[in-house]
Symmetry: C2
Subunit: 200 residues, 2 copies
């Protein structure tokens, strides 16, 4: 049985969990409380030297870190990561966009505000960080004004990756009202077969 | 002919350029001076809404952003991105690690110090950022103490991705002395067939 080490409420951990539900792939969730430092213990660091969750263990003793690497690995051979070379390239483009231009702003502000309750204390830092999150939403809005899903006509792991933190961006104080195509896409993702909500 | 829009001295732009040299794939380099805002003009934003370089145009009017997505796309079918599913997963793990845990610290400090000459002005910010760069180097050191290349026995696009900014980390003030396995690996990469140095 595949094991997934994750922290409830983490969008990065939700990504492979949602995909495995949609692939009807059974797995066991092992809770790792990052707020208590449980991803930095010697035991966990022996599994992932980078000390981060999620961590996938598809076979005993075989560990894979990085949520978007998991999406590629798990979706291989399925309609969520099609074989067409250009289609795959565009999906990967969105996966890297998510980790570089979206997650560090949208997920990070949410973490400060929603989990650490430091919204007031970090007000200046948050005001500096939010415009980069909005810039990422604007890039998504432009694409989703043209195609129903991020990589084109079909739902793929690119949508799972970007959905994870976009649909809870409001918990960090982001206002999605100016992004109607993003909002319509959120609804489209939530009505996909096998969709399960994130536990927050 | 493949076109690559890039900024000389950018490690992200060097990645696909190095790979294409090693694949013996001819391409044209189009210089985009990001210091003059040339990646934020309406003309460039029409090619890449995210306003970033590198940008690959493998066929006229077909654009691919994100350096590591380019590596996957270009290396498809070659020994630099082998077909084995687990091997690919481990390579992708390093590619995402690079963009999330390495580049934002090591490349960013180098940009401030080497290009913007703001080392003194940003001293506090740099002191806060560097430990996360060193943490990334420590993760690499642990892997490279066990295997000659990041994803195992063979040179792959994972090595190209991590080499790009690691080999010029000293330009941001990073000291690689405590990382002997990383240093030996840098030398190993530089002696690969088809290796070309980055123009800085």
């Amino acid at each position: 049985m595949i094991q997934l080490y994750g922290f409830t409420g983490s969008g990065n951990c939700y990504k492979p969990a949602l995909l495995m539900q949609q692939l009807q792939l059974p797995f066991t969730w092992i809770e790792v409380n990052i707020l208590n430092g449980e991803s930095r213990t010697p035991e966990f660091l022996a599994k992932n030297a980078n000390g981060k969750i999620p961590l996938l263990e598809p076979e005993p003793g075989h560990f894979l870190a990085e949520s978007n690497a998991m999406l590629c690995y798990l979706a291989e051979g399925s309609r969520f990561f099609p074989a067409d070379r250009w289609q795959r390239a565009k999906i990967l483009e969105w996966l890297f966009f998510e980790q570089y231009s979206h997650e560090p702003y949208i997920a990070t502000v949410r973490f400060w505000v929603h989990y650490q309750k430091r919204g007031d204390e970090l007000a200046v830092k948050i005001a500096e960080t939010m415009p980069r999150g909005y810039a990422a939403l604007a890039v998504m809005e432009q694409q989703l004004s043209q195609t129903p899903f991020l990589a084109g006509a079909e739902y793929s792991i690119a949508d799972i990756a970007l959905f994870a933190y976009t649909h809870v961006a409001d918990q960090g104080g982001f206002d999605l009202t100016p992004y109607p195509a993003v909002q319509a896409w959120l609804h489209r993702v939530m009505t996909q077969p096998g969709y399960v909500p994130m536990v927050v």
